[in-house]
Structures are given as C-alpha cells and as structure tokens.
Symmetry: C2
Subunit: 351 residues, 2 copies
C-alpha cells in the first residue's frame, strides 16, 4: 500500500525520472519502445502522479477556479453548466470547489490562486460584505457572479448581478397592480446586506411608493430556505391569522412550500391567496399552479461573468455589470377579489 512515486517507476522501468515525466505528460520526444516500457511499468505498479508536487512546479495552468457558495442552492446549477461550457470552449479547464455557508470564500480563493492551480476565479454566490484585505489577497483576476460588495471600492473587483432591491420592488408592485393591498413577505436569513434584506428593502419601497403602509406583522420568517420551512411556516401563520391576500416569497422554493401550505390549509392558490416567487428556477414553470416569478437571466449572466474574467486576464479593468430580471407570469397570481376570503373553507388539510 505504500505510495509509488515517479522515482520507483523510473527504477523499475530502468530509465531516468525525466523520461517517466515526459511519458506522463505526453511529450513527443520519447522513443516508442521506451514509452511502452514506462507505460507498462506504470500500469503494473499502479502509479498515479501526485498533483501537489506537479503544481508546485507548473507555472501556467490553463485552469479557472469556480467557487460555489453553499452546496444546496439549485439556482446555481444552470449557471455552472454555462460557465463550464464557456470556459472549456476557450481551451481552459474548470476547477470546481464548494465553499460552505460559514466559510470565507475569499480566503479559499486566495489559497486556490496561490497553489497556482488557477489563473482566474469566478465566485458563484458569496457575501455582500467582505474585508478589503481579503479581497486584496487574491492575486489572480476574479469576478463575483450574482452578488457584489457593498463595503469595498468598486475599482477593487468585478461583479455581475441583478439589483435585488429594484427587482423585489418590481415583484411587489406587480402584486399591488393586481389589487393586492395586504401582501405578506416570506423570507429567511434577513440580516444586514443579505439577499433577503435587500429584497425586503425593495418590498418596503414598493409599498411606500404605492401609498401602502409597511406592516412589520406581514413579514413571515422561515428558518431556512428549504421547501419544508416555507411550508411549515405558512401553515402555522395561517392557523394564527390570515391577514393577507398575497405572499411574495423571496425564492421559488419558499414559494412552492407556501403554495402547498396554503392548499393543505384548505385554501387555494391563486383563488384565495396569490403566491409570487423569485429567481425563475425551472421547477416554477412545472409546479401546479406554475409560479409567477422574477426570472434572473442566468444564461446571460453566466456568460457575461466568463467574458469579463477573460477580459481581466487580458489586462482589462474591473467593472460592475447589472442585469435586469424579468417578471414571468405563471398561474399563481391573480387579481384580488373582494370575496376571496369568503370562499375559503374553514380549515383542515388533505394529505
């Protein structure tokens, strides 16, 4: 079980380590006989090259790092596919790494860069607040995708994102335009400059601009962004009080949980309560009812992030790119009807 090194292979094959190295790296200037012998030895002794040692020597890898924040965000998957395709098309490879919610993605990035394995980095998701010093530490070009930094100088980084405040206001205004006046806001993780906080800001702004008083009591907080959390929270809320005719959930997943919660409470979507999502994930189109949502232009954004990264690697300057999201009408939101509440059954689930 001891590790087989390039030295062992060289000895067993009766050649020098340089020759083995050449064979491994597919250099052309190796005698066919020799190559064959080395390959056989590698096979026999089950040799696997040590990438750590290799990357210690190699200077210019054609690798680009992609750091995905959080494992469970299905929203990133499509973007990831686009990013990968774009990068591979340009002749580079992708080094994909996950960063858990409580890890610092900038520190991880600095490590990736220093290990010399990547010549550029795309951050897929991350914190809106970071220490300038951590940003400065990353010594390769990088781009933030789906977020930006609020507490650093804009010249320090590039980012591709949507304006969460404006898009959230757009969603809220749509519900208002349908006649809704009592709109609940379903969210999780509302802390300073979180996505949730930004979307809450947009929600408030839309209410105020429409002359509707903001009611703290209409904020419904779920424990997490999981379906189950949206479901449970909405059920509990409906048991206590039903003082809204529409719910604006800050993610499609929460919206779906809310829909099921409403239905199991004996009410119907959208007849009794309209439900609006956010992000425009695939599932929202195929849910029943399909979810009206704010769709982020994921493909365009992902492509842009790669393009911007290559510009930076080519000596370009940092830039902020803000995309517009589109309101996609599904079946989950309808015009407010005065008698909606009356239609409702008393309570009780169906599952």
């Amino acid at each position: 079980m001891r590790k087989v090194t390039i030295k062992d292979v060289a000895r067993f094959a009766g050649v020098g380590v340089s020759t083995v190295s050449r064979v491994i790296n597919n250099h052309q200037d190796v005698n066919d006989e020799t190559r064959k012998k080395v390959l056989e030895t590698i096979e026999t002794y089950k040799y696997t090259p040590n990438n750590s040692a290799r990357s210690l020597k190699i200077v210019d890898t054609m690798n680009i790092g992609v750091l995905v924040k959080g494992i469970s965000n299905t929203f990133y998957v499509k973007m990831l596919e686009v990013i990968e395709k774009e990068i591979v098309d340009k002749g580079y490879s992708v080094v994909l790494r996950h960063v858990s919610i409580d890890e610092n993605e900038l520190t991880k990035a600095a490590e990736l860069a220093v290990e010399n394995k990547v010549c550029g980095i795309i951050f897929l998701g991350g914190n809106y607040l970071s220490k300038e010093n951590d940003v400065l530490r990353i010594n390769v070009p990088f781009v933030f995708l789906t977020f930006t930094l609020f507490n650093c100088n804009y010249s320090m980084f590039s980012s591709v994102y949507i304006n969460d405040v404006i898009e959230s206001a757009k969603a809220t205004k749509y519900l208002i335009s349908l006649g809704h006046r009592h709109i609940a806001f379903l969210a999780a993780d509302v802390y300073n400059y979180s996505i949730a906080a930004l979307r809450l800001e947009g929600y408030k702004r839309a209410l105020i601009e429409s002359g509707i008083a903001f009611d703290e009591g209409l904020i419904i907080m779920a424990d997490t962004f999981e379906i189950e959390a949206g479901y449970r929270t909405v059920i509990e809320r409906l048991k206590a009080k039903r003082d809204f005719t529409a719910i604006f959930a800050i993610s499609d997943i929460l919206a779906i949980g809310a829909c099921r919660g409403i239905m199991e409470s004996g009410l119907s979507v959208p007849e009794d309560i309209s439900v609006m999502g956010f992000d425009g994930q695939d599932i929202s189109r195929y849910y029943n009812p399909s979810i009206t949502t704010i769709k982020q232009p994921v493909v365009d954004m992902a492509e842009k992030s790669v393009a911007q990264l290559f510009e930076l690697m080519d000596g370009g300057t940092n830039r902020q790119e803000i995309f517009e999201a589109n309101l996609v009408e599904g079946e989950s939101c309808i015009r407010y009807r005065k008698n909606a509440r009356i239609k409702a059954k008393a309570s009780g689930g169906s599952m």
Copy 2:
C-alpha cells in the same frame, strides 16, 4: 502580483522559515513577540500558504474525500449534509469534489488519495461498471454510496445501496395492485447496467410476475433527467397515443415533468393518469398533487457509508450493505377506473 512565499515572510520578519512555519501552524513553542512580528509581516505582505507544498510534506491529514458524481443531482444534497456532519463529528474534515458525468471517478479518487490529502473516500454516485485495475489503484479505504460494482469481485470494495431491480418492481406492482394494466415506463439513459436499465428490469419483472405482457411500446424515453425533458416527452407521447393509465417515472423529477405535461394536455393526475416517482426527494411531498414515490432511506444510507468507511480505516473488511426503500403514498396514484379515459377533454394546454 508575484507570489509571496514563506521565505519572503521569513526574510521580511527577520526570522527563519521554520519559525514562520510554526506560527502558521499554530505551534505553541513560539515567543509571543516573535509570533506577533511574523503575523504582522504575513498581513502586510498578504502571504497565503501554498497547500500543494504543504501536502507534499504532511503525512496524516484528517481529511476524508467525498466524490460527487454529476453536478445537478439534487438527490445527493441531503446525503451530503449527513455525511459532512458525521465526518466532522469524528474530528475529520471533508474534501468535497465533483466528478462530471463523463469523468472516471475512480481515477479522480486515486489522485486524491495519492496527493495524500485524504485518508478515506466516499463515492456519492458512480458507474456500476468499472475496470478492476482502476479500483485497485485507490490506495486508501473507500465506500460506494447509492451504487455498487457489478463486474468486480465483492471483496474489492464496500458499497451501500438499494436494490434498484426489487424497488422498481415494488413500484410497478403497486400500480398493478391499483388495477392498472397499461403502465408506461418513463426513463432516460437506459444503457447497460445504468440505474435506468436496472429499474427497467424491475418493471419488466413485475409485469411478468403479474401475468402482464411487457410492451416495448410503453417505454417512454426522455433525453435527460431534467424536468423539462419529462414534460416535453410526455406531452409529445400523449399527442400521438394515449395507451396507458399510469406512468412509472424512474425519478421524482421526471415524474413532476410528466404531471405537468399531463395537465397541460388537458388531462388530470391522478384521475386520468396515475404518476409514480422514484427516490423520495423533498419536492415530491410538496408538489400538487404530491407524488407517490419510492423513498430511499437517504439519512440511514449516508450514515452507514460513513460508519463503514471508518471501520475500513480501522482495519475492517469490505462489505455490501443493501437498504430497503419505502413506498410513500402521495396523491398522484389512484385505483384504475374504467371510465377514466372518457372523462378526458379533447386536448390543449392551459399555460
């Protein structure tokens, strides 16, 4: 932008590299003054240690590798969470890597192991067929989770999985028990010893054991495992022919696509067509109608895989652990009614 190394830090701080190394690795035997000076220098020059170099020296890392096959399989997410928790509880860390569909996970594993960064590996998903030689190449303990190897000696590996043939037969027999005789099979990627092929095998077996002739024409093939593929494929099929009263989809996601396709074809689930899923993902509980499905005991399986890995690392022997899945009744399957077909509207969608 040049790389700052431990040597630079040592020089700038006026100490030896060993001292810098000690500070970085939090060794206690360093003078407080010295430590402070080194820390300051690191901060000033934005030094980040090179992990490649480090892992070249370090022998016993407390890292366990988790190789996830395919980026877009949401089914793995919950397992991943459990695995991570279990491993961290034991004082180890997780090194998470994705392997794309067309990459060889065993080769990747051999690399991980040789780089000496991990002392054990869990494969979350992978091919049912692999070369013995690739298996032999991995020189640390490892466990396959959610799959096994059909063409290698059982003593060569450990695996934790469900019997796809039996579980698939269970699903099919359930539909048969509800009176369905014309059951379509919705799948993707049916090749030799793929999950789809195994589940197809179970489907056939159930039919035959129930005295129902297998009808090749009832196999509906989607291009991919995505919702959209299930949706589109079912719509097209219904446009051409409606010769079944139930669909057994080999994943919940395909089942959901099928449901939406059926509804947009002017039919209803389950009144006109019953739909059965597989896997038991969260979304199946919250869809409308909720999806009847075969639920894999993801938490137990994930826990078992970690336990088995630690046994192996402790000198234990390889073992195969087959779990039983549970049929969870949702709202998407009901008893076959003779007049079901008549109820159907002519055609046409609603979206």
